[in-house]
Amino acid sequence: MSYVEIDTERCKGCFLCTALCPLKILAPSNSFNSSGYKPVELTDKSKCTGCASCALTCPDIAITVYRTSKTNSEKTNG
């Protein structure tokens, strides 16, 4: 399924991504990184569509996005 990877060291806990995620599946985690920021985490990986809205708004390029989509053959054969 599609998912995002959070670089917890680069994340500064600004949480802009949590606002712009259309499915609201990003939220502050309970851990701290070495700079004392609370990195964000993906709360429900199953819902992520890989739309990358979070990555677009991240000022620190802390989010890498992987999108899983049906291959063309799967699309045509249903």
């Binding site: 060291e9 680069r10 500064k12 806990g13 600004c14 949480f15 802009l16 949590t18 606002a19 712009l20 700079s35 920021y37 890989g50 990358a52 809205s53 990555a55 677009l56 708004t57 991240c58 000022p59 620190d60 390029i61 989010i63 890498t64 996005v65 992987y66 999108r67 899983t68 989509s69 049906k70 291959t71 799967e74």
Partner: protein, 251 residues
């Protein structure tokens, strides 16, 4: 099922943490520039002219040649670079204090001469690096460290709308204002940067992109509230849109 990497660090953006405050949208603007430089394969012929302000360190975050300009003088330094090496890709990256205050004469005349270079102007309505003083784009009533009771237009004048002013100059080929507060706006910003860079690359003259951005620390707001302020307060006073585009009938 096929898994694809759809979003990662642009090649010409340095893989390191930035010095910016959490939620500061300079980081987004930097990344968009990196993406466009990569897509247009301009990085290895680019020369950045960085200005004085929080964004002076952009040269630490891009794998391109750069020169540091004195406060406000980036458009003049860029003119010198471009006149000396016309085949290089030259752009400045400036804040509102740098461009619209001390550097006003330089940006006006650089645009008016129609210099074949691009200017990225990040407007976050305060002097960031020096601790949040009033800037030429500070809004009426906005509290800053030098307008503690809120900007009083009778005493301090009104905020200056640069994209419209630059659009009035004959030498300007493209002048637009964009923002970074929504996914749509971020995509528009990238398109605007690409448009300005393409104009330069095709020797079609001076491109100006004003980017509305947040400064959570000096606005004394959370990153999320600051981001909302863009739509609530900045965009109403600084309308988004293209004010001049020699390739189309602009607004």
């Amino acid at each position: 099922m096929e898994e694809k990497l759809v979003f990662t660090r642009p090649e010409c953006v340095v893989d390191r943490a930035t010095h910016y405050c959490p939620g500061c949208q300079h980081g987004v603007a930097h990344r968009l520039i990196g993406e466009v430089l990569d897509e247009m394969q301009l990085a290895d012929k680019s020369i950045l002219v960085s200005s004085i302000g929080c964004s002076v360190f952009l040269y630490n975050y891009l794998h391109i040649d750069a020169v540091e300009a004195p406060h406000g003088r980036a458009p003049a330094v860029a003119t010198g670079v471009k006149r000396a090496r016309p085949d290089n890709f030259v752009f400045t990256y400036q804040g509102d204090g740098d461009l619209a205050s001390i550097g006003m004469a330089e940006i006006m005349h650089c645009a008016n001469r129609g210099e074949n270079l691009s200017v990225i102007f990040v407007n976050n309505t305060v002097y960031g690096m020096t601790g949040g003083q009033m800037a030429p784009t500070t809004l009426e009533g906005q509290k800053t460290t030098t307008s503690p009771r809120g900007r009083d237009v009778l005493h301090d004048g009104n905020a200056i709308r640069m994209a419209e002013i630059i659009a009035q100059l004959e030498g300007t080929s493209y002048s637009t204002r964009v923002a970074l507060d929504t996914v749509l706006h971020i995509k528009q910003t990238k398109k605007a940067i690409k448009k300005a860079f393409t104009l330069q690359n095709e020797k079609k003259g001076f491109g100006f992109v004003e980017i509305l951005a947040t400064c959570p620390t000096n606005w004394k707001m959370s990153s999320l509230d600051a981001n909302e302020r863009i739509a609530k307060e900045l965009i109403p006073y600084f309308p988004l849109g293209t004010y001049k585009d020699i390739e189309q009938g602009a607004k």
